[in-house]
């Protein structure tokens, strides 16, 4: 096929209707098409990708069954990064940009795995599906664990909220200030229900697949791997990264699911109970829980459903720990619903 003319006019078969003007992207998007596409690629790999690697590595520390000390150390390191809010905003912008454009691009193509079931084609479709799953998962993950949204009242799982716990705890119980809670609260979230654990498994696999596959295709798009051999080799590197990240996740996952609440310090126990509300199920050894709490002058208020009305605290799950008779631990122990006052 060699055309050797200077200017071939656009020919149209006689009788053929004029071809429709085809534009894939409207207005300003089409003007900067190439740059936007490359930024889309970059925004997925660098800010989001690097953060996810760091995040998974940090969480992998959950595997050390040391009362979450190593993990707590890592978390505190992250929270000590100056201008963390700035980083968070940058990350959110990157995710929003990547997801917005990604969703748009996803719907501009038309998967055809049924007709052409090649491995690469399946990967192409998976990349689009995992992108959508990852977006939903990341939002859910951050909304529940970081912003502490109780989505539809289904999952009130507090996490690293304003320092160490829910507002009011430290004023109410000065003894519980600065208790390391990152590990128990993470573990609590994962042990909360099989569904949560399953959601995390699917969500993280989607995120990690999306990232490592994106790294593979980006190398082609940017023109780094230009031969089939190079694409293959880079593919092995990407598979390696996928496996490594899944190992990190596996460590975090297993660590969280096997986290031993009973082995925590009395302060950790009290603060965990205060923070997570209805969290007594997490403790296997209820007797030990009681003695531990007693040792710091507190007791767990067990709220079996039938007694809920009598205690008058049915609608308000906190505090679930309160000082026992020992005065001085807190002045306003009776003021159950007193959060608002602080």
């Amino acid at each position: 096929m060699t055309a050797a003319t200077t200017s071939a006019p656009v020919t149209t078969r006689p009788g053929a209707p004029k071809p429709k003007t085809r534009t894939s992207v409207a207005g300003p998007l089409s003007q900067h098409h190439f740059v936007l596409r490359r930024l889309h690629s970059l925004s997925g790999i660098v800010p989001v990708g690097l953060f996810v690697i760091g995040h998974l590595f940090t969480n992998a520390q959950m595997i050390w069954q040391d009362n979450g000390e190593t993990f707590q150390h890592e978390v505190e390191f992250i929270h000590s990064i100056p201008a963390l809010l700035f980083i968070e905003i940058a990350l959110w912008s990157a995710i929003a940009f990547h997801a917005g454009l990604g969703l748009y691009y996803t719907f501009s193509g038309k998967g055809n795995v049924a007709a052409y079931s090649y491995g690469d084609n399946i990967r192409y479709s998976l990349q689009r599906w995992t992108g959508v799953i990852a977006l939903v998962f990341i939002f859910f993950h951050i909304a529940t664990l970081r912003w502490r949204w109780d989505i539809l009242g289904l999952w009130d799982t507090p996490f690293y909220y304003k320092g160490y716990s829910v507002p009011g705890m430290e004023e109410q119980f000065p003894a519980l200030a600065n208790v390391p809670l990152s590990a128990p609260l993470t573990a609590y979230a994962l042990q909360y229900s099989v569904w949560v654990a399953l959601l995390y498994l699917v969500g993280v696999v989607a995120v990690v697949f999306h990232w490592s596959n994106g790294l593979w295709t980006a190398a082609i798009s940017w023109g780094l791997t230009i031969s089939t051999g190079a694409m293959k080799k880079w593919g092995y590197v990407c598979i390696g990264l996928f496996v490594a990240l899944m190992v990190f996740f596996g460590a975090a996952f297993v660590g969280s699911l096997r986290y031993d609440f009973d082995a925590m310090t009395p302060q950790q126990k009290a603060a965990t109970l205060f923070t997570v509300g209805d969290g007594q199920w997490a403790f296997d050894d209820k007797e030990r829980l009681e003695t531990d709490l007693a040792s710091i002058g507190m007791e767990a208020v067990l709220l079996p459903p039938e007694d809920a009305d009598e205690t008058g605290a049915a609608g308000d799950e906190r505090p679930i720990v309160e000082p026992s008779e020992t005065p001085g631990v807190a002045d306003d122990a009776a003021d159950h619903g007193g959060d608002a006052a602080h």
Partner: protein
């Protein structure tokens, strides 16, 4: 032991359409087996006796073909769900992995149907114009000897030169649809082909601008179906990656020099 006798006939299900933008419908024909029959031969047999299995006398099926030896690309159709040239699609092979002794033949879905199995592949040729897939010599004056081409480059380019504009790569591409503006593997590969030609290089900048625009290389989703279905075994994904590299370099240069 007696092997089961091969049936003397087989069925062909054909997706038909009376004209542009008309509704499509299916018809089934029973065709006699003949030695070394290809799909074009089958269509000729049907044309000689256009009666459906329901006994209805119909218009003969319309199709496009030329070379009959898989070099012109005009006879491309979707046969048993897979895009390929009908002139090189042999009935015995097709029946071997078909259920119930039936072969299905459809027009390509990524191009407007002119009639029945005949599609309008004009978009591919328009795309070649968009990416200026030619060597800019107009023959008005003697340019002297052309620049030397290295054998390695010749080899690389030869592979891409075999493209017959058949459309298989576009039919199988999830990013190429009937109504979007993606150039597709064929035009991208040809743009790269002429960028690498010593004289064709003169238009490299313009070609890259076309490849950077809407529907350009960046729209490729790396599904890599194109390279698997290309009957000419053109290393399309490599060509796409190389065009991507040229674009990266071009964009960086443009960023720093403003040109």
């Amino acid at each position: 032991m007696i092997a089961p006798a091969t049936p003397k006939t087989f069925k062909v299900r054909i997706k038909r359409q009376d004209g542009r933008d008309q509704p499509a419908y299916w018809q089934e024909f029973e065709v006699e087996r003949r030695p070394s029959q290809n799909i074009i031969a089958v269509l000729q047999q049907i044309a000689a006796n256009p009666v459906t299995t329901a006994g209805e006398q119909v218009e003969p099926v319309v199709w496009d073909s030329g070379c009959l030896e898989e070099v012109c690309g005009s006879c491309t159709m979707v046969i048993n769900g897979h895009v390929r040239q009908s002139c090189s699609a042999l009935v015995p092979d097709l029946l071997e992995d078909a259920d119930d002794n039936t072969i299905t033949v459809e027009p390509m879905t990524k191009f407007p149907v002119v009639r029945d199995l005949f599609v309008d592949r004009q978009r591919m040729f328009d795309n070649l114009v968009k990416v200026k897939a030619w060597v800019p010599i107009d023959g008005t004056h003697d340019l002297g000897e052309g620049p030397k081409e290295s054998p390695e480059k010749q080899q690389e380019r030869y592979a891409i030169s075999r493209c017959m504009t058949c459309g298989c790569c576009l039919e199988a591409c999830p990013q190429f649809t009937l109504d979007n503006d993606f150039l597709g593997a064929q035009a991208i590969a040809q743009a790269y082909y002429f960028n690498e030609h010593e004289t064709g290089k003169k238009l490299k900048g313009e070609r890259l601008e076309a490849l950077a625009g809407p529907g350009g290389v960046a729209d490729c989703g790396n599904a890599q179906n194109c390279v698997k279905v290309c009957p000419k075994e053109i290393p399309l994904t490599e060509a796409i990656a190389k065009a991507g590299r040229q674009l990266t370099v071009h964009a960086v240069k443009k960023f720093f020099t403003g040109k």
